[in-house]
């Protein structure tokens, strides 16, 4: 009789299987990502977190261009937001953007483009006043190589002539729609993964209100943000902004954006 002979081993295997499944359920990341633990430890600094449907990340299901993956973060109804982080679990540079608003927010609408080196979860995490991270995210599928691809600037001998050129605009929202600030900077955002092309990326950007000059927000970026980055934010009650930034080599850029009257 074969079955009884094998039964003890089979039971043992079932027990082990169930223990493993149970362990899985405890650490349950809704995206079932092998990189989540590292994001939680390093990007969220081991602070407590919860997965939260109020934080949503919009990316395409498949990255058409791994050097430029569109991404929009939407956060609604979380009081006391003091920090927003965008990260991709399986990227060699995990954290892409940190937003540090000067005033506590209860909603966020933020868009940019990032590079992905392979298929990866893309996360947004917002830190509230109680020190709890609220995490949302989704998978993006990709052919890969976005972080290690040479920038267009790195093969263009005249790249430095336009370095730091910036454009922006405030788009006035109509009836209940917040104003939208969008700006873009000409910058290679080189990750340093291409031989002979050193790391060169915008590290820090500050946004100040016009006319009072008070800082509204700081933004920290890494080379996981796409070349010639574009940033879009919702704002309310601002007449205009002065934007200043610098890269890791000390190159600076500056831009003043006045609100236009109406949306055409």
């Amino acid at each position: 009789m074969e079955v009884p002979d094998r039964l003890p081993g089979f039971v043992a295997a079932l027990v082990i299987a169930c223990i493993l499944c149970e362990a899985d359920a405890v650490a349950s990341d809704p995206l079932d990502s092998p990189g989540w633990r590292i994001v939680a430890e390093q990007v969220l600094a081991g602070a407590p977190y919860r997965f939260d449907d109020r934080v949503s990340v919009h990316v395409p299901a498949v990255a058409e261009d791994p050097t430029r993956v569109p991404l929009h973060v939407q956060v609604t109804d979380i009081p006391g937001i003091q920090r927003i982080v965008v990260a991709a679990d399986l990227n060699p540079i995990t954290r892409a953007v940190t937003l540090l608003p000067e005033h506590r927010l209860d909603r966020v609408s933020f868009g940019t483009q990032i590079k992905v080196e392979q298929a990866t979860p893309v996360r947004a995490a917002v830190l509230d006043d109680d020190g709890l991270w609220h995490v949302g995210g989704t998978w993006v599928s990709a052919a890969g190589g976005g972080c290690s691809a040479p920038s267009l600037a790195s093969v263009d001998p005249s790249w430095s002539e336009r370095l730091g050129e910036a454009g922006g605009r405030i788009f006035r929202g109509s009836k209940g729609v917040p104003d939208r600030l969008k700006f873009s900077v000409v910058h290679p955002m080189d990750a340093g993964f291409v031989s002979g092309v050193p790391r060169l990326y915008i590290q820090e950007t500050s946004i100040h209100a016009i006319p009072d000059g008070k800082r509204v927000m700081r933004m920290l970026t890494t080379a996981a943000v796409s070349e010639n980055p574009v940033f879009a934010f919702d704002f309310t009650g601002i007449e205009g902004v002065a934007i200043q930034g610098r890269d890791n080599n000390g190159n600076r850029f500056a831009l003043r954006v006045a609100a236009t009257k109406t949306v055409p």
Partner: protein, 315 residues
């Protein structure tokens, strides 16, 4: 799900055998040709995107039978497809292939050319340049996307530069058009069988399937559609989607391109991010089209930056 891994080796082996059988069976594209006018055959595809399920068989190809043999319009996505298309064309055309035309350089249309390495392969100069520049990249990407369907497929560059105008082959008159907008400047070939007025439009025309825009210039594309309309074809074989009488498919393509252009411009004028544009509403009239959301999302990546950049004030 992980618990499932603990089932016995016997069932794993059975599953592997079943999977192997499925892959082996899938090796056949099961191509069928429909005669849409005397001696004019279309090998219809679908309105899907390319995948490991369809092996890249989603485009329309075809051939025109002449006294010198078949004139092939697009060898398809893989060597295997090209071989099966060739066998089909030879069976209808007395065993000979006169020549091959590539409508453009995109891999689903062009990579099967190796199956015709002993006959002249004609393409527009801009198409040949694009294949010389991007061919290897397109080939690698198709190996990744299609897997085993691609076995043996290598780059086979066109051997002849196609020129616009009429050509007479084996007693049949064909008119070659050099168009622009889908694949680059002067990189979209369309071919009219003058006798039957059947037009093989390449990817200048899509029908019931959202147009793809990786190399698109919408303004040029719309101009090309006007040029095609002026030919007054009786039937149009679109690059993707069902054959249509008259200009119906052309009008559908124009409708999508106009909508896409307006949607991008509107999004840029409201300061929307690329990520927000991914979710732009798709009108009801396109809801039943194949790949509508997917192609919109690809188009956001391909073309939205230029609209967005132009809507900002630069220092």
């Amino acid at each position: 799900m992980r618990c499932a891994y603990r089932w016995g080796a016997a069932s794993t082996t059975a599953l592997l055998l079943m999977a192997f059988a499925a892959v082996t069976a899938a090796a056949d594209y099961e191509l069928l040709a429909e005669e849409v006018a005397e001696g004019v055959w279309v090998v219809p595809g679908t309105t899907e995107g390319f995948s490991r399920d369809n092996g890249g068989h989603m485009l329309n190809t075809g051939f025109v039978v002449t006294d010198e043999g078949a004139v092939i319009v697009d060898p398809g996505p893989t060597l295997r497809y090209g071989e099966q298309l060739r066998a089909l064309a030879e069976s209808k055309a007395g065993g000979a292939i006169a020549r091959v035309y590539l409508t453009h350089h995109h891999p689903d249309h062009a990579l099967g050319a190796l199956a015709f390495s002993d006959v002249p392969v004609h393409a527009l100069p801009a198409t040949i340049a694009a294949l010389e520049r991007d061919g290897q990249k397109l080939l690698n990407n198709f190996y990744r996307l299609l897997g085993d369907w691609m076995r043996g497929t290598r780059m086979h560059l066109p051997t002849q530069s196609a020129e616009p105008g009429q050509v007479k082959i084996g007693g049949r008159r064909l008119q070659v058009l050099a168009l622009s907008g889908h694949s680059g400047a002067g990189a979209d070939l369309a071919i009219l069988d003058v006798g039957s007025r059947v037009l093989f439009a390449g990817d200048i025309v899509f029908n019931a399937r959202a147009p793809a825009t990786p190399d698109a210039d919408i303004g040029r594309w719309l101009t090309s559609l006007e040029a095609v309309a002026a030919l007054a074809p009786e039937q149009i074989v679109p690059g993707h989607g069902p054959l249509a009488a008259g200009l119906d498919a052309l009008k559908a393509t124009r409708d999508w391109l106009d909508w896409l252009d307006n949607t991008m411009r509107d999004g840029a004028s409201r300061g929307l991010s690329m990520g927000e544009m991914l979710n732009a509403p798709i009108p009801k009239r396109f809801a039943s089209w194949g790949q509508a959301r997917r192609e919109l999302q690809r188009s956001v990546n391909h073309i939205y930056s230029s609209y967005s950049t132009a809507a900002l004030d630069w220092n």
